[in-house]
């Protein structure tokens, strides 16, 4: 039963192998589409189940905790898993609409599945070194996707991404080693227990700093975000959307896990550092996004600014702020993915997404414009869309702690967001199309818009029916902050006797 928690990892993995050896199968697309939908459905079920019955843990090989590797699906993890499955599903559908089966690169779906497997793995694992392995899985998959369909001279855009993640991996590996040396275990729950007794030992702080840097780098926090805007735009739209929406969030999740579950709450100075780095990230990212001249680049650079919001919530480190964090992540994944998809549609409809050469889309494509509006306004935090609730919760959490400066920074960042969204709206939708540029809408673009529609509907639901999602986020935040819930669910594995292995 508890083995179900491993399904979000194994299902994509097995499917990837199948898809790899059957590149020519006629029903490949529909079968995989159904599989993705099923995966999404299952992860939502898992999320709700965990909400009711508490975290679900599974120990590999039935080894006694903390000696074997465990998977832990608590609220936070399962929420993230559902988000990644959702994004993957929409990305796949979008890809189906965008390309004919015969034009699709046969390695795209297998690699995407492997990417999903790695991402879900890093959400679910309860073991630090295993987390390192999971990171490598999805990183290599993302390298591969990044360079799979590149044109001439684009390979070099992948170099910063790859090289920096190599550095990050080395640092993470050493951090794992140091953690083992320090705690004598790699199991997160056990680590948390042993770390609690080591408060004041500066080795703990150093280790925390190292891990914070690594995860911050994966998340794209200032000043570690250089790789992000440069590397992403070289990808094809579905892949780009999945990366922009999900991959930085893995780093965010790892940070939330690190501070919420593993490290003791006494490391206040780390929280402070994180919060201020986040403040800078928000504003600098916002300004940088505003400076771009292409839709996709604005959106991708804007990922950085939003990462700042999330990390800020982590740095404030209170139940309220974690609640804001979880809600905001969910909102952001949907909205950002949707916007990146729309950028792809614009590129397809007008041949390019350079704002100078775009225009006239509102008149030509009302549905597309509606979708963009819903998402963009939501991103800008206009009530009653989902972004507003996230912003509201973050402001509230910040003011509760009297963090005036950072709150002001956050608000400045949201004004910058509004400006960059307006830049796109005025440039591509309101402005009449320049001479020679026409809007080509065909069944493909319509199908793509329909795929985006899923995300729009969800984000609208999240805004108007915020209650359910807020409740979800609230529970997850409380669960994360009552550290015992996580540890107990892991230690409870030892109560199930297995001959020899568990007394």
């Amino acid at each position: 039963m508890t083995a179900l928690v491993a399904l979000p990892i194994f299902a994509p993995l097995v499917l990837a192998l199948v898809a790899l050896v059957t590149p020519r199968w006629r029903f490949r697309r529909p079968a995989l589409g159904v599989a993705f939908a099923g995966l999404f459905g299952f992860s939502v079920w898992l999320m709700l189940h965990v909400q009711q019955h508490g975290p679900m843990a599974h120990g590999f090989g039935g080894w006694a905790v903390p000696y074997g590797i465990v998977l832990v699906g608590d609220s936070l993890a399962t929420i993230m898993v559902s988000l990644s499955s959702l994004t993957a599903l929409v990305a796949v559908l979008f890809g189906y609409a965008e390309q004919h089966a015969r034009d699709e690169h046969p390695l795209r779906l297998p690699l995407l599945l492997l990417l999903v497997a790695g991402v879900n793995h890093s959400f679910l694992t309860g073991d630090l070194f295993n987390l390192f392995v999971a990171f490598e899985v999805f990183l290599l998959a993302s390298y591969a996707l990044l360079t799979l369909e590149i044109g001439d001279g684009q390979a070099r855009n992948a170099l910063p991404y790859v090289a920096i993640n190599l550095v990050g991996s080395a640092l993470l590996l050493m951090s794992c080693a140091f953690a083992y040396g320090l705690f004598g275990t790699l199991n997160m729950a056990e680590m948390a227990e042993r770390a609690a007794g080591m408060v004041g030992d500066s080795r703990l702080d150093l280790l925390g700093l190292m891990l914070m840097l690594v995860f911050g780098m994966k998340a794209g926090v200032f000043p570690l975000y250089y790789w992000l805007p440069r590397s992403y735009p070289a990808m094809t739209t579905p892949i780009l959307a999945f990366h922009g929406a999900m991959l930085t969030k893995v780093g965010i999740y790892a940070l939330a896990r690190l501070f919420g579950t593993i490290l003791p709450g006494e490391l206040v100075w780390l929280h402070e550092v994180l919060a201020w780095a986040a403040g800078l990230t928000m504003v600098i990212g916002g300004l940088g996004a505003l400076a771009q001249s292409r839709i996709q680049q604005i959106l991708v650079y804007h990922v950085v600014s939003q990462v700042g919001y999330l990390v800020l919530a982590i740095g404030w480190f209170s139940t309220a702020s974690y609640m804001a964090l979880i809600f905001y992540v969910a909102h952001l994944v949907m909205v950002k993915a949707g916007l990146l998809f729309i950028g792809g549609i614009v590129r397809k409809a007008q041949g390019d997404d350079l704002l100078k050469t775009n225009g006239g889309l509102q008149a030509a494509a009302p549905m597309l414009s509606l979708c963009f509006l819903a998402l963009a306004l939501s991103l800008a935090g206009i009530p009653p869309l989902s972004g507003f609730w996230g912003k509201f919760m973050i402001v509230r959490a910040g003011l509760e702690q009297g963090q005036v400066t950072l709150v002001v920074l956050a608000l400045v960042a949201s004004v910058l967001t509004l400006l960059s969204m307006l830049k796109i709206w005025l440039g591509a939708f309101w402005k009449p199309a320049p001479e020679g540029v026409q809007v080509v809408l065909d069944t493909q673009t319509r199908g793509m818009t329909a795929a985006v529609g899923i995300l729009v509907a969800l984000s609208l639901a999240m805004g108007l029916g915020a209650n359910a999602f807020v409740k979800l986020a609230g529970n997850a935040a409380e669960e994360t902050f009552s550290r015992d819930t996580y540890g107990d669910s892991v230690r409870a594995l030892n109560l199930v006797p297995i001959e020899g292995k568990r007394p």
């Binding site: 392995v133 790859v162 794992c176 080693a177 140091f178 735009p233």
Partner: protein, 123 residues
């Protein structure tokens, strides 16, 4: 379990050299830098298994008199080596591809604008 100065110094040297090479602007030097970096990281992991002097390998039945070394860091290193190998392979091919695209084996080729925005893509 206690630690040894020699290994620490070795880690310092290898990682220092590795970073220095990584920061170079020629492809092959960068590549070698990363190879060294993964080796250095592995050595750092090795350091966690403590001073082997007078210890036995982690093979039960091998020299029962002496205490065996901690097997976990070794296992971690094995995994790390394999992953490092995969990454190194990918990175080599990536550099090769970049080179064949631009006929430029230095990082300088990265700076000139255009294509960075992903304008033209494989159709």
């Amino acid at each position: 379990m206690s630690t040894q100065l020699d290994l620490a110094l070795l880690v310092a040297v290898v990682i220092g050299v590795a970073i220095y090479l990584c920061l170079s602007s020629r492809f092959h030097r960068v590549l070698l830098g990363f190879l060294l970096l993964s080796n250095g990281a592995n050595l750092a992991v090795l350091g966690m298994s403590g001073d082997p002097s007078g210890k036995a390998a982690a093979l039960v039945a091998d020299a029962p008199g002496r205490p065996p070394v901690d097997p976990l860091p070794q296992a971690l290193i094995l995994t790390a080596i394999v992953i490092g190998f995969s990454v190194a392979a990918y990175f080599t091919v990536l550099l090769y591809r970049i080179y064949t695209d631009g006929q430029n084996a230095t990082l300088a080729g990265l700076d000139d604008p255009g294509t960075g925005d992903g304008k033209e893509r494989a159709s």
